[in-house]
Symmetry: C2
Subunit: 108 residues, 2 copies
DNA sequence: TCAATAGTTAGCTATTGACCTAAGTATTAA
DNA sequence: TTAATACTTAGGTCAATAGCTAACTATTGA
């Protein structure tokens, strides 16, 4: 619920670490427990948990603990918000170029 | 030319600072000189130039100096590469969900 | 009930990143 | 040819980040 108020640059920041970037790639294949998710990373578990905490804080990952196992899930909405922002920047840029092209045509 | 070999997490990292995020938003409206671009930011020019340097290093912005003026341009290709990665993560995630749905249907 | 499993908390360290000021260079307009 | 403009370089500070180990809690299978 706090997700709405987190500015997008924080989402990009969260993705801007190689470990967290890779975590997102893994989770896009399906949900995993913390220890399954941590297995491919050569890193102490507390360090890994910090990264997971960042992803959760900025809304890219949700987790739920059942018994002693915490399961981690990708939050696709948040990924989409970031994707949309990039799309908008691209579109504005190309629209601008198109407008310039028209100006040049008119002058010729 | 070095762009190809820069891993995408670095691009996200570059976008993960509020100043650089805002620079990209400004540049999507059109190219600007360093001083025009820096005007809205309450920050010493050398600090601003560092941010610009990061964006250029990771391929999000290109610059060209003519006379004493350096003009900054958004590199839309790079923005698109980041957008595409996010799109792929989303798609893999939703494909996975769809597959699970089918499994459940088959069982019922 | 006891040992293994799964994750958590606390506290420390080294490096990086964001910021500054001061002083420099190169270009251009007067 | 001098002054203003538009960056650029050098060098320093401070806080935040990514990493670690050690010790702890909670759950579960034997």
């Amino acid at each position: 619920m706090a997700n709405q108020s987190i500015s997008l640059d924080r989402v990009f920041w969260a993705l801007g670490d190689p470990t967290r970037f890779a975590i997102v790639e893994h989770l896009s294949q399906g949900s995993l427990s913390v220890s399954e998710l941590a297995k491919p990373f050569s890193m102490a578990l507390p360090t890994f948990l910090q990264h997971l905490g960042v992803l959760e804080k900025y809304g890219l990952v949700s987790t739920k603990k059942v018994g002693r196992v915490r399961t981690c899930t990708l939050n696709a909405e948040r990924v989409d918000q970031a994707r949309t922002w990039l799309e908008i920047q691209e579109k504005q840029w190309t629209n601008r170029l198109d407008a310039l092209d028209k100006l040049l045509e008119d002058k010729s």
